[in-house]
Amino acid sequence: MEIWHSRRKESLDIIVCVKHVPETAEAEIKIDATGKAIEKTGLVFDINEWDDYALEEAVRIKEKLGGTVTAITVGPEDTDSTLRKCLARGADKAMRLTDPKFQGSDSYAIAKILQSTIKGLSFDLILTGALAGDDGYTMVGPILAELLGIQHATMVKKIEFADGVAKVNRELEGGLEEKTEVKMPAVLSIQTGINEPRYVSIMGIRKAMKKEIKVLGLADTGLSESEVGETGSWIKVEKIFVPPAEKQAEFIKGSPEEVTTKIAEILKSRGLI
């Protein structure tokens, strides 16, 4: 960690941790036969929304200050499409940590896998999404920081750099933010809305197809089998189920004309029109 201070360079080498997740915000989701996961067939997978903002922020920092961006993920081979997207967006390098033994890892185990690889890399800053849209644990970033022995800040909405520190705005509740200073190198977990992720052109994606994705497995991490997967995790899912409804809306059915007539009646009866 001392390297950063002795180098006194302006440019930053940034690692961005990304996750390949199903897009479920507008999809109808079903519970699968195991009762412990959702049915994945038919769902579109893409980069986790929060990670998308983290990657964009890393690329913007690189464009401003110079340096490199390395995208890293833990997952099976099909996560390559997310890494390709990162490369197309401006990441210089991509790494995939893949092993059948990683199956069943929760955020804690994922953070260990990431740490075991990242500790051997040179970096000034690590960015992650504040949370993942699938499991929403909100913990990989700060755990990774703790395991690396560096500081972190979560829910980050703005980053500025000054003399060995990152000055960040953290999102608090109710529209408030706090400005906090964190010593670098640090892990920053990025909240959505920090920037506007750029559009990736077809050309860019084509170019990225030629770039190498470095693949590492359990043996490369130096972790034991018991430290990853379900045995290395804190959380073991027992079952998933549809949330019990607090109440259930009365559904208004029919053509748009029928539906809007009914809504207008309701509004009228309540003196709203």
Partner: protein, 324 residues
Amino acid sequence: MTEIFVLAEHRQGQIRDITFEMLTKGKELAEKTNTDLTAVLLGKNTKEHAKTISEYAKKVLLVEDAKLENFNSEAYQKVLSNLTKEHKPLLTMIGHTSFGVDLAPSLAAALKLPLATDCIDLAFEGETLVITRQMYGGKVNVKAKVRKSESYIVTVRQAAFAAQKPNISGEIMEVSSPLTEEITEKRFIEYVLPPPGGVDITVAEVLVGIGRGIKDESNMPMVEELAKALGGVLACSRPIVDKGWLSTDRQVGSSGKTVKPKLYIALGISGAFQHVLGMKNSDLIIAVNKDSNAPIFSFADYGVVDDLFKIAPALKDKIQELKG
């Protein structure tokens, strides 16, 4: 006798609601596990807070230090690590808030204690902690076992438990601050308030709330016209602000405003908890969403499972027609 810790959360001189919600659930868990409920309060000049909190817990551990005046995860982690090692609580409850998510994960990793985040329910089955939380933006609930441990840490979702004031008069125990050295890695600078916007959605009687289902900025005029026809204003869920289609002051939810209009029409909003927290107490909620299983329908009075691009313009026409 071992304890259940609840970390009190306060900001700018106010105890946050999550504190009392956790103390209420913590009391129930303490009774069931035959443990004592202990509130942990870190701050500066917080004796009044300690008094208030002592009416909810058997004991309040109060640590006062200038370094704890504003939340700082580095300082909080050092103090909580010390207290946890000394007291070995069965469970430590921390709010799943901006403060909590900045603190709990690194604290758990440092102490090598298992952590479950964003819990909406907690129970002990024997010595094993079983938690309920949500996934996929609230579309499914998960029941999970936490790896067996002598001590657990959880973060608790806001408003998951209703606060109830018990009849307790707890003891306040001042503990000297273990922060003998300067906090050097992380420094709180200031609170930043976003600039006030042109519209105050908290006073509007009619809100048309829009979400991800709006799909494209070119659809904004259509919903704006509907809001205008209803004599209301546009509000939105987080993705709309993230995309820059509406300003921050229009955002409804835990990181935005809490509203209670006479009418809230939710268009293309799936109903993730963060949004629902800000609007579920509206007098009348009508939701339009393509997905019949969208969580918003568990909070709405009336639901329409259809394409909002068909319903919204038709509704605008209908209302204009009625108004003449």
